[in-house]
């Protein structure tokens, strides 16, 4: 699904340059879970942002199902995110002024879907994460786990090709974290592609493909070939 060839990412902060990724080559196959792990500052989130088209690589090439993402314009990247990618963040990132249903419906509304259809699909997505009864609650009235489930529903509502989760359990207690990972695993079983950035070794071990980064380089990669063969 995703192909990265000699991808570099350099952040410039004044005269200081930070090499977040240094020549990353990686293939992420579809229909499974890929876990990206590594220490803080190893480039995990940067990798996720690049394949999710939130950012552009400084050098190298990223392809999604053969399409060169690095060649897309700002508007095309936004449309790509809208149609192909669903993001789940560590801090949930829900819009505080909107209800759970409105938050979930938002990606569809930005696409121009009518409010009625968007709300119907939002209800369906909330049912997948078992939160349909909390649809009219604002984020402040929801627990951390519930907020993350709403965020997953928002990521799912547009039927994306891949779900990209950045430390989805990082702000949750162990039990709630397990619930969230259970939801993500069930999505994989339903045929979704999930790429998850995590510090959690247990999550990384349970993934179909595991990528470990250190100082912007891949130091270990397992599972991709087997999954491709499968």
């Amino acid at each position: 699904m995703f192909e990265l060839r000699d991808v570099h990412k350099i952040y410039r902060m004044g005269e200081v340059e930070v090499h977040a990724l240094r020549g990353v080559d990686l293939e992420i196959a579809g229909d499974g879970m890929t876990a990206v792990s590594g220490q803080s500052g190893s480039g995990k989130s940067t990798l996720l942002h690049l394949i999710g088209c939130l950012d552009k690589p400084t050098a190298g090439e990223i392809r999604f199902e053969g399409e060169r993402l690095s060649a897309l314009s700002s508007r095309e990247r936004a449309l790509f995110r809208s149609s192909k990618i669903g993001f789940v963040f560590q801090k949930f990132n829900l819009i505080p002024g909107l209800t759970a249903e409105a938050n979930v419906a938002l990606p569809l509304l930005l696409r121009g879907v009518t409010p009625r259809v968007a709300n119907e699909q939002a209800q369906t997505a909330l049912a997948i994460v078992s939160l349909e009864e909390r649809s009219d609650h604002r984020p402040a009235k929801l627990s951390g786990g519930e907020q993350q489930r709403v965020a997953i529903a928002r990521a799912l509502v547009g039927a994306p090709a891949a779900l990209l989760a950045d430390e989805p359990t990082g702000n949750l207690d162990t039990q709630t974290g397990r619930q969230i990972m259970g939801i993500l695993c069930s999505l994989v079983e339903d045929g979704k592609t999930v790429v998850v950035v995590t510090h959690d070794i247990g999550i990384a071990d349970s993934a179909d493909q595991r990528v470990i980064l250190r100082d912007g380089r891949i130091v270990e990669e397992t599972g991709c070939v087997e999954r491709s063969e499968r």
């Binding site: 508007r75 936004a78 938002l106």
Partner: protein
């Protein structure tokens, strides 16, 4: 899509209710001030112009030179009360020492003016064939004694010719009680409504004018001229006419004074000429121009006639007087509206500040929106709608409050401030301009912050703690 962004913008406004309302308040105050000042200013202009329309733009006034300030005072303070420094008319005020001193000063000034040769109306009509009719109206300050009060008052002496052709200048000289002059050889007086009330006189009673006993034969209807006069003299137009030094200015002052019929005592011009042949009076001559004839050419002919007669006077058309008043009022209105516009500008700056703060506070939200597929353009539009809505809401409420304020100012505070007798004018153009300008002001104020939001890097925005 836009409707969806509008919903989102509305939810943003709701979620920051207090700050949104404070920002809206800034715009609202400016809009309310602009609306109130423009509607009141337009109302005053309309009221003044409608007075001129009632009289007719085909009329030319010939005012004795040097009349300006004296004529203004005749119609203004002294004519109103007989007191020194204005204030309400009261019987107690008449005949007080201060009032007497003021009247004496004015009489001295009038002596200098009236000593000049007056216009001979008959000769004027012969000399200027494009005039269809003409009549003189004298005004003097005289000692008047009523049932229980004595003092100096304005005595207006219209000739029968004047009343036949130009009664509209005296608000139609409409009689409320009694009748008009019948016998021009006897001592008959007609009183303005307020003069009658203050003198304690009624139809059939007797008053004493400059030592002559007069029978009150009629009392005029209340003209509302006080309000129109006061509108010129009050806060909005304080001293306007005194600022005008041209001949038009003198005519304006004289005309404004004459149109106040409520506080005057009227004696037939023919009788006044017989009783007080050497009275210190200002005689304003009114002449009507034939329809379709050039007013400016007629003015030239009148000047020639006056020179030939050796008479003192400056002919001015009503159109010139109206243009002058309208121009001056328009200028005052523009200055006031400009001051109010500064308040509106401050509101816009406040709005911009709020939007910049909102962009900074909502960085993570902007990053989230971009991560779920919002384009830069959608983020831009979202923030523009946000600021435009605040501007529009401020404009709409400000318009309503401005309208209420102008109504309140004219109906409740107006009489106290001396600006009554007219209604504020709300033209469709004003309403549309105010609402449109508020929307544009909001959007413009929000444009730079919105651009900043749209250009924000989503990764950096999401990294915001």
């Amino acid at each position: 899509m836009s409707r969806n962004l509008l919903r989102l913008a509305l939810s943003n406004l709701r979620s920051r209710r207090t700050r949104s309302w404070l920002t809206i308040l800034g715009v609202l105050i400016g809009v309310a001030a602009v609306t109130a000042l423009i509607s009141i200013g337009t109302g005053i202009q309309r009221a003044v112009l409608s007075q001129f329309e009632d009289i007719g733009y085909d009329i030319i006034l010939i005012v004795p030179e040097g009349t300006g300030a004296a004529a203004g005072r005749l119609g203004g303070r002294l004519g109103q009360s007989g007191q020194t420094d204005g204030g309400s008319f009261s019987p107690e005020g008449i005949g007080q020492p201060g009032g007497t001193a003021a009247a004496e000063q004015l009489r001295d000034r009038l002596a200098a003016i009236s000593s000049r040769a007056a216009v001979d109306v008959g000769v004027l009509l012969d000399d200027v064939p494009t005039l269809t009719e003409a009549g003189a109206l004298g005004t003097q300050v005289a000692s008047v004694r009523g049932a229980s009060v004595t003092g100096y008052l304005r005595v207006t002496t219209p000739t029968q010719q004047f009343l036949d052709g130009f009664s509209s200048v005296l608000n139609g000289f409409a009689i409320a009680y009694g009748r008009s002059f019948i016998d021009l050889e006897s001592n008959e007086a007609v009183l303005g409504s307020r003069a009658a009330e203050r003198l304690g006189a009624s139809v059939g009673s007797s008053i004493d004018v400059s030592g002559e006993a007069f029978e009150v034969v009629g009392i005029l209807e209340s003209s509302g001229a006080n309000a129109a006069r006061d509108a010129d003299e009050g806060p909005s137009g304080q001293g306007l006419t005194r600022e005008i030094s041209s001949s038009g200015g003198m005519a304006t002052a004289a005309f404004r004074g004459l149109s106040n019929t409520d506080d005057a005592v009227f004696v037939a011009g023919e009788r006044a000429e017989t009783l007080w042949p050497s009275a210190q009076s200002i005689d304003v001559t009114f002449a009507r121009v034939e329809s379709g004839v050039s007013v400016s050419e007629t003015l030239d002919s009148i000047r020639v006639s006056l020179a030939t007669q050796g008479a003192s006077g400056n002919p001015v058309s009503i159109q010139q007087v109206a243009d002058q008043i309208q121009g001056t009022l328009g200028m005052v209105e523009s200055v006031l509206a400009s001051i109010a516009a500064v308040a509106l500008l401050v509101g816009g700056v406040g709005l911009m500040n709020t939007m910049y703060t909102a962009v900074l506070e909502r960085r993570r939200e902007i990053g989230t929106l971009k991560s779920i597929g919002a384009t830069d353009g959608q983020v831009l539009v979202l923030f523009l709608i946000d600021s435009g809505l605040m501007g529009f809401i401020g404009g709409a409420i400000g318009l309503a409050i401005g309208a209420a304020l102008s109504m309140l100012a004219t109906r409740v505070l107006g009489p106290a401030l001396g600006v009554a007798g007219f209604s504020p004018v709300f033209e469709v153009g004003l309403v549309a301009a105010v609402l449109g300008f508020s929307l544009v002001l909001g959007a413009l104020s929000g444009s730079l912050p919105a651009l900043r939001a749209a250009r924000m890097n989503p990764v950096e925005a999401l990294a915001e703690e």
